[in-house]
Symmetry: C2
Subunit: 278 residues, 2 copies
């Protein structure tokens, strides 16, 4: 893959990478289309498909994470993807030569929210994204806004370490009822699936409250209202609710227009995330 | 610099990077010549010159580290270096946008010897070398064998993170009396300078002992002999003596042919290192 990427570069082809964990849905396809738009018909769209063990903690859903390489391959082909890069664990983290021992870690933006709930998650993400960027050497990398903090962590890594790549953030794709697309929606029972709309409804609720209010709403009190709303769904359990400044990821003491809102909610055993600008 | 590097790549020029902290001596010049030999007359030799604060701990010699950019520039020009990249701290570690927050850390090879004596040193090295590789995008990077562990840590980082670059290790250059060239030799008083040969004499002593011995010498007992030898120099104080396997950096319980030996010794206030294969 790296040799192929080198040959693209030597021929001056523009390359966009869409890193995924596979089990592609319309959200991924929208990233692929965004990548194609960015590089044009003569450019290269590369999709990586790798369920990266390093970003799952013990007890998380690594072993049951959904996989379907033949289907993903068909979808990529139908979208005109030039290369689908689907390495195995042995080639990404070789055991030979003393084993794998290098980590890339972002230490500011990665500490709150997903980073607080999943302490080793972002270190796994930045390490594997660093590897994928070196292997595919793209001009552009496309990330989805559903994983908003992930994109911010990767953006910070790219800036701090001077990776010669530009990050493009593409909007979240939603079901008609508002649920953000995610491979993990696949885990939900029909009843949980119905209750899972509580995440996007929470964002709309917060946005409406902020836009009606004459002045910023103290974060603690809006969180209380949101917890009450989420508690109407019996299968839902809040992991975190956070108001923050999107540029710095500093928590916002009050919710107002332009402040970003993110939340993680367990629906049954499935942990879902969503976010939006208020 | 990154734009320039991109234009070299698009034109298919072979690029070699020689990362330095400046105050160039014959050791650095030998790396530059090695780089030229590797890329040929049509290739690009880039030298980076940056005294990286992140690899110095508080109380180390960052502020008094010797600097002479005009002289370094003349030396590079005389060697036919194509680009001398000498960034300042504000461009390497910008304070804007929430500050610098991403680290690259090697967690195995970096733990012993220099890593044990200087716990944050290699994290600073791998982070800045990662940045320099992204900024200059070389095909080859040339490191000196005097900093043997540093080269091993960087080699491991390159392998683990799939940097598209090959590391070349160039031999240590020595004064006629055996002292390994180092910008830090500049700190030595004439009397300390005379005593500083104890490092290379220790390597020769260990090598001779091993080659005369019928069987491997227990590391502990050879270390005792070496401590006695070094104690003959009143200004010398051992920081560490280590026998290890060069490929894995695992400590060797016994010294024998092919085992690597490294040492760090304070001569007065100046900390010097050296190493060699037995």
């Amino acid at each position: 893959m790296q040799r192929l990427a080198g040959s693209w570069r030597r021929r001056g082809r523009r390359v966009a990478l869409v890193p995924t964990m596979g089990f592609l849905h319309e959200g991924h396809l929208s990233l692929i289309r965004r990548a194609r738009r960015a590089v044009g018909s003569r450019g290269i769209v590369a999709v990586s498909l790798y369920v990266n063990p390093a970003q799952f903690a013990a007890g998380e859903d690594l072993s049951r994470y959904p996989r379907d390489l033949p289907r993903d391959t068909r979808l990529c082909r139908a979208e005109g993807v030039d290369v689908l890069f689907a390495p195995d664990d042995a080639s990404m983290y070789p055991a030979a030569g003393g084993g794998f021992s290098t980590l890339v870690e972002e230490t500011a933006v990665s500490r709150t929210m997903e980073g607080a709930s999943r302490p080793t998650h972002f270190r796994g993400v930045t390490t594997v994204v660093g590897k994928l960027l070196h292997i595919t050497q793209p001009d552009l990398a496309v990330f989805g806004a559903k994983d908003f903090q992930q994109a911010a962590v990767v953006r910070r890594m790219i800036r701090d370490l001077n990776f010669p790549v530009k990050l493009i953030l593409a909007p979240t794709v939603r079901e008609p009822d508002g649920l953000a697309l995610s491979s993990r929606n696949n885990y939900l029972s029909p009843d949980e699936r119905a209750q899972a709309t509580i995440l996007s409804r929470s964002i709309r609720f917060a946005r409406a409250r902020v836009r009606r209010a004459r002045e910023p709403i103290p974060a603690a009190s809006l969180k209380q209202e949101l917890r009450k709303l989420i508690a109407t769904q019996p299968a839902a359990r809040v992991d975190y609710l956070e108001f923050f400044h999107a540029a710095t990821f500093e928590p916002a003491p009050a919710a107002a227009r332009g402040i970003h809102f993110a939340l993680a909610v367990f629906v049954g055993r499935t942990r879902l995330i969503d976010n939006g600008r208020l």
